[in-house]
């Protein structure tokens, strides 16, 4: 299949009729379409898939150009259409898809008729419409939808298309097998031998006449029973393998996420540590606040009374000189001596009017409560004490406030640090739960492996007994002349099945080797490092290196991923042009191959200047027709290399967000 022309009418931003003609000339087979971001590069790629398969994945569903849609008056209609002209196996086809939109009286734009038609050029040179029942089949004949993504792809897709991920792997295996002719053999083997009820061999076995032969009847029933069990076991084995593989890929994906998020884990620990420190600091702050409150309630009066205390102290200062009292003694003590004891502490009798009596009465005058001197002295003592407290109050409260403020600032700083960390890890997975997921998955893998081993053992013993039974049945059936024909048919079916199986294995090996060789040859022309691309089973690929320095950086950059994927796809496309021969099986005719175009949007995304030039050198040799939709900045590097093979250049002229025109550049 080679593309001749693409016509779009009011498809998304391509307002009115836009036409691109592609060159199919052997020498000049490259068409370049230049377009800046948002000019419609990816839309153009998607338009091919819409025309061929009626599928789109735009966020806004309507395909009708927004400007046209806005101008649509109630009751009026507008068409969106796409038309592809292509040549397949020497025949020209015109494939057209149309969708009508109309505005109803409520102002809503609704879908109306959709039409899909395929015309082909007859040997008389006239275009003739194919019957409706044929149109879907013919498109699938030209390019099966499943395979289309290998020929129409955009830059982001190329990074994942060849990745060894399970989701894509099955597609890759099927695509390679289909393009290189293996799918036909695989399908034939399925119909010949896979399934005891639906397969050729299964059905022929059922035709064996078992009447009048109890032993044969018994063995046939047992054979059926064991074959059914064997088929179930085989399915279970495949299912278990698939599940194990899927779990292993999940583990791999999660491990990558864990690795990518180790910094997140570190930041999370940092946040937790900060929270602990914040908590401790809050407790200290609380204590300091309580201390401050206590200081205020107890000592603040002394502080505010300082001037008053100073003045009072000054006033009572002179009283000290006239104080004749006895420290520690109060008037009540003298009264007690005179009135109750009647004797002085020196032993003298105390008689009223005596000298001792009079002396004591005199001393009593200077003792509290009557003695002002003592009161003053005590007052001064109190003042001094309270003055000390008052004087310390300021320093103490000042220091407490200072400490509380410092703690507050420290808490704020830690909280702001945590906010920053939280922003950094926002929307990032929790490494702890990812690690748990890996542990759980590994347990499941172990369980499935155990189950798989049991199934494999059972499969081995069942296969042996099914084969033994088959031989016995053949022998018993041959005793009846009526079975001669059906046994002969079975011989042919089994012989052909064996031939196909061995042909499949040898062709598969041949294809794998050739594909690896071709992919590496392309990869080495593009990549300027020291790596090799190794193709594994199921067409997975790995990049290896013997260079220690390169080995250290085995994390693939986006650019390298693009180069590896491009090489892989280019290898497939390039090999699809050729017949892959199984030299050991000349009996089986080879499946015809057909050239295919490569239609690429942003094939150079994430690659550097040198890779752009290297990919450009490879492109003309890979596909028989290449259509590149790229940005001018990339074209700058590719231009010099591709100029000789270049047939046409178009430019996407973006007038505004909803309007792009496609023009040929002379």
């Amino acid at each position: 299949m080679l593309l001749k022309k693409m016509k779009l009418e009011n498809f998304r931003q391509f307002v009115g009729e836009q036409i691109i003609e592609f060159e199919t000339n052997d020498d000049k087979n490259i068409t370049v379409i230049l377009g800046e971001n948002t000019s419609g590069k990816t839309t153009l790629i998607k338009s091919f898939k819409w025309v061929l398969y009626g599928k789109t994945d735009f966020e806004t569903k309507s395909l009708l150009n927004t400007t046209v849609s806005e101008k649509l008056k109630p009751g009026n209609k507008e068409n969106v259409a796409g038309e592809i002209e292509l040549v397949h196996r020497g025949t020209l086809y015109v494939i057209r898809r149309e969708q009508t939109y109309f505005r109803n009286n409520y102002g809503e734009v609704k879908l109306e008729n959709a039409r899909f038609s395929v015309q082909h050029k007859t040997s008389e040179g006239q275009l003739k419409y194919l019957d409706k029942s044929q149109v879907i089949n013919i498109v699938n004949k030209i390019l099966p939808e499943d395979l289309s993504e290998y020929f129409f792809f955009h830059g982001e897709q190329i990074k994942t298309i060849g990745e060894n991920r399970r989701s894509g792997k099955k597609n890759i295996k099927e695509a390679v097998e289909s393009l290189l002719g293996l799918e036909t053999l695989d399908s034939a083997i399925t119909h010949l031998s896979r399934g005891d009820k639906t397969s050729v061999i299964g059905k022929l076995n059922k035709e064996i006449d078992v009447t009048d032969n109890e032993e044969l009847d018994k063995k046939t029933r047992l054979y059926e029973e064991k074959s059914q069990r064997l088929n179930k076991i085989k399915n279970d084995i495949e299912e278990n393998k698939d599940i194990i593989e899927s779990f292993e890929e999940q583990v791999m994906d999660i491990n990558i996420k864990i690795k990518d998020n180790m910094e997140t884990k570190k930041l999370k620990t940092e946040i937790e540590n900060n929270n602990k420190i914040i908590e401790e600091k809050r407790e200290i702050k609380e204590k300091k606040i309580n201390e401050f409150k206590k200081e205020i309630s107890v000592n603040s009066p002394m502080f505010f009374m300082q001037p008053l205390l100073d003045r009072a102290l000054k006033m009572v200062d002179n009283f000290e000189e006239i104080d004749e009292g006895i420290p520690g003694m109060e008037a009540k003590a003298i009264e007690n001596i005179i009135e109750k004891r009647g004797k002085c502490i020196c032993g003298c009798e105390i008689v009223e009017g005596s000298e001792v009596y009079n002396n004591l009465k005199e001393i009593k005058k200077y003792l509290p409560p009557e003695s002002i001197g003592t009161i003053v002295r005590l007052f001064k003592k109190d003042i001094s004490h309270n003055k000390f407290k008052g004087e310390n109050f300021y320093d103490k409260t000042f220091n407490l406030v200072k400490e509380i403020r410092t703690i507050d600032n420290e808490i704020k700083e830690l909280e702001s640090q945590n906010d920053n960390y939280s922003d950094e890890i926002k929307n990032k997975p929790d490494v702890g739960s990812l690690e748990k997921e890996v542990r759980d998955l590994n347990k499941k893998i172990q369980h499935r492996r155990k189950k798989l081993n049991q199934l494999l053992n059972e499969e081995g013993s069942l296969e042996k007994s099914v084969n033994d039974l088959d031989k016995e049945i053949q022998k018993l059936a041959a005793e009846n002349e009526k079975n001669e024909f059906i046994l002969k048919c079975l011989d042919y079916a089994k012989y052909i099945n064996d031939k196909f199986e061995s042909h499949y294995k040898s062709l598969e090996k041949e294809i794998k080797n050739k594909l690896e060789e071709r992919t590496n040859s392309i990869f080495n022309k593009i990549y300027h490092g020291n790596r090799d691309l190794i193709l594994k089973n199921n067409y997975e690929y790995d990049l290896t290196t013997t260079d220690i320095e390169e080995d250290k950086s085995l994390d693939l950059s986006e650019g390298l991923k693009t180069v590896a994927s491009f090489s892989f796809i280019a290898g497939i496309v390039s090999l699809a042009k050729e017949k892959v021969h199984d030299t050991n099986n000349e009996e089986i005719s080879q499946v015809d191959t057909e050239p295919y175009p490569l239609v690429m949007d942003a094939p150079f995304s994430d690659t550097d200047e040198r890779h752009v030039q290297n990919i450009s050198k490879v492109i003309p040799n890979v596909a028989e027709q290449t259509i590149m939709i790229i940005m001018e900045k990339d074209w700058k590097y590719a231009k010099n290399v591709l100029e000789d093979e270049l047939s046409k250049i178009y430019i996407m002229d973006k007038k505004k967000e909803t309007i792009t025109h496609i023009k040929e550049v002379n």
Binding site: N137, N140, K141, P144, S178, E183, T184, L185, S187, A188, T190, H191, L192, G195, T198, S199, V200, G202, K203, L204, F485, K488, C489, D491, Y492, A493, K494, Y495, I496, K499, F500, E587, I588, S589, V591
Partner: protein
């Protein structure tokens, strides 16, 4: 078993089956069971010729 197989007939049969499979992969017109029946028909037809 192998000694009963006519190499020319088997080659013709194999090519017919490949052609049938190749066509069906493109058109997806026949179901799995239909395909087995069609192959049985081809085998029987070929075996009958030498029978």
């Amino acid at each position: 078993m192998k000694e009963n197989i006519d190499k020319t007939k088997v080659k013709r049969l194999m090519n017919k089956i490949i052609e049938l499979e190749s066509e069906n992969l493109k058109t997806k017109a026949r179901s799995r069971s239909d395909m087995s029946d069609k192959i049985i028909e081809l085998i029987k037809e070929e075996v009958r010729k030498c029978y």
